[in-house]
């Protein structure tokens, strides 16, 4: 089945890919971790400030393709203020959508539903999920950089 390129590169994704939000080092981060996709060279560091079990602040830095950069940017917007449990559930829902296991549901995913087009491009799933795997590793207190391979 032919999917239009614009389904993958939606306006929202292009916008966040070009001008990522929360793109900075978080000086008072309580957690941070590097994520790396050795296949394409995407490399991000995710910074988190956790207070009272919630994401008080979150940011990222690094370089990657439009999909991974936009994913990291929209992820930081989506998880801010959420509890660790809520973050975990959001990642599960996001993962199910980008891998084509579940139809996008704007009610639970919000802007993240824009990544539904990734499901038609299996090799790009890692681009979309790298920031999330990195975030999850950071939350778990991992010191080992996350790798998609």
């Amino acid at each position: 089945m032919k999917v239009a390129l614009e389904d993958l590169y939606q306006q929202l994704i292009m916008d966040h890919g070009r001008r990522p939000r929360n793109f900075r080092v978080l000086q008072d981060a309580t957690h941070h971790l590097e994520g790396y996709n050795p296949l394409c060279g995407d490399r991000f560091t995710v910074y988190l400030k956790i207070a009272d079990g919630r994401v008080a602040d979150v940011s990222f830095q690094g370089s990657g393709c439009a999909i991974s950069t936009a994913s990291a940017s929209l992820m930081t917007e989506a998880v801010k203020g959420k509890t660790e449990d809520e973050v975990e559930k959001l990642f599960e829902a996001f993962h199910a959508v980008v891998t084509g296991k579940r139809a996008p549901d704007a009610a639970s995913l919000g802007k993240l539903a824009a990544f539904a087009g990734v499901a038609a491009y299996p090799v790009r799933v890692k681009c979309a999920t790298l920031p999330w795997h990195t975030l999850k590793g950071a939350l778990a207190g991992s010191k080992q950089p996350v790798s998609t391979e």
Binding site: K2, C40, R43, I67
Partner: protein, 418 residues
Amino acid sequence: MSATRTATVNTSRGNALDVARVRADFPALHQQVNGRPLVYLDNAATTQKPQAVLDALLGFYSRDCANVHRGVHALSQRATDAYEGARETVARFLNARPREIVFTRGTTEAINLVAYSYGSRLSPGDEILITELEHHSNIVPWQMLAERTGARLRVAPINDRGEIILEEFQRLLGPRTRIVAVAHVSNALGTVNPVEEICRLAHTYGARVLVDGAQAVPHLAVDVRALDCDFYAFSGHKIYGPTGIGVLFGRWELLEAMPPYQGGGDMIRSVTFEKTLYNDPPYRFEAGTPHIAGAIGLAAAIEYVTRLGLEEIRRHEQQLLQAATRALEEIPGVRIVGTAAHKAAVVSFVLDGVHPHDVATVLDHEGVAVRAGHHCAQPLMERFGLPATTRASFALYNTLEEVDALARAVRRARELFD
């Protein structure tokens, strides 16, 4: 400048390659991808296979399938004849002797074989010299060898065009240099290295030279005697042959003195629990049942390119290279990475503001298959300060129309991300 130019065959013929006829030989080329005709420009990763190779594989498995070197029955004799015939074909192709041809799984295994076997005689303080543009398969085996033996790995730098700086290379050579390992053609940039000169320089210090020819054999005639190299490695699947088969050429007197790489059947002369006598090369290095069908398929591939003529192939591919270079340079924001004076038909490039992975996805959408990434040459990418590039690599069956399709698709990527 290199032996590959002086050693070309049959220049008197001078026929241009009949690409339409050539394309008819490759079944895989005639398909649609994402609703568009496939434009296959990922040939440096692997090439498509001509019908002659497919027929050779099918012929072996449907008529002659038996093990080699041990049966007295008819099928085993036919399999052995075909397998050893393949060795002779490879030997002729490289201007080597059949007993100097070891079949391996590919270039990587061939390099590992030399690093493990020839390398076992290195001692602390010895030096291994490689270059900055090597594929990981011509870096990691030497790093492992250095770790095992205490030898030191040294790296000759390249210039901004992607050419080895010969003066620097020469400066790094010395009496401690035991092994020089260098790519004949860079997989990521297309640079054709002056291998003949490198061998000459290395030999003045008594070093042995291994040439990684994976990206060279599909594009230019290789004569190991003219190059005067000590080892030459290549893979079948990059020269229109099957995957899983490769070749190591080794100078006879070197192979003869080298210890085995793996133990098993076929590599022995006699075995008792007290002592095993090893077979002579090349069998000493071919433990276990070899990839018989693969060797036969590789021979068919070599016969195929030889029939077309490597000089004709080279001329056609150089046309494609020039056209692709021109077409891409005309696109605003495109920068070609690797601008050596002497190149094979590989064009690596970056598009301003668009990640190579996004470029490759857009191209795939247009039916154009390219590679995006670090091309298993991370130190080289680091040298250029890039996480990745997009790479279009051409083969004998590509056309100028496909160059246009590539350029159109890159323009499309540029518009989409503008």
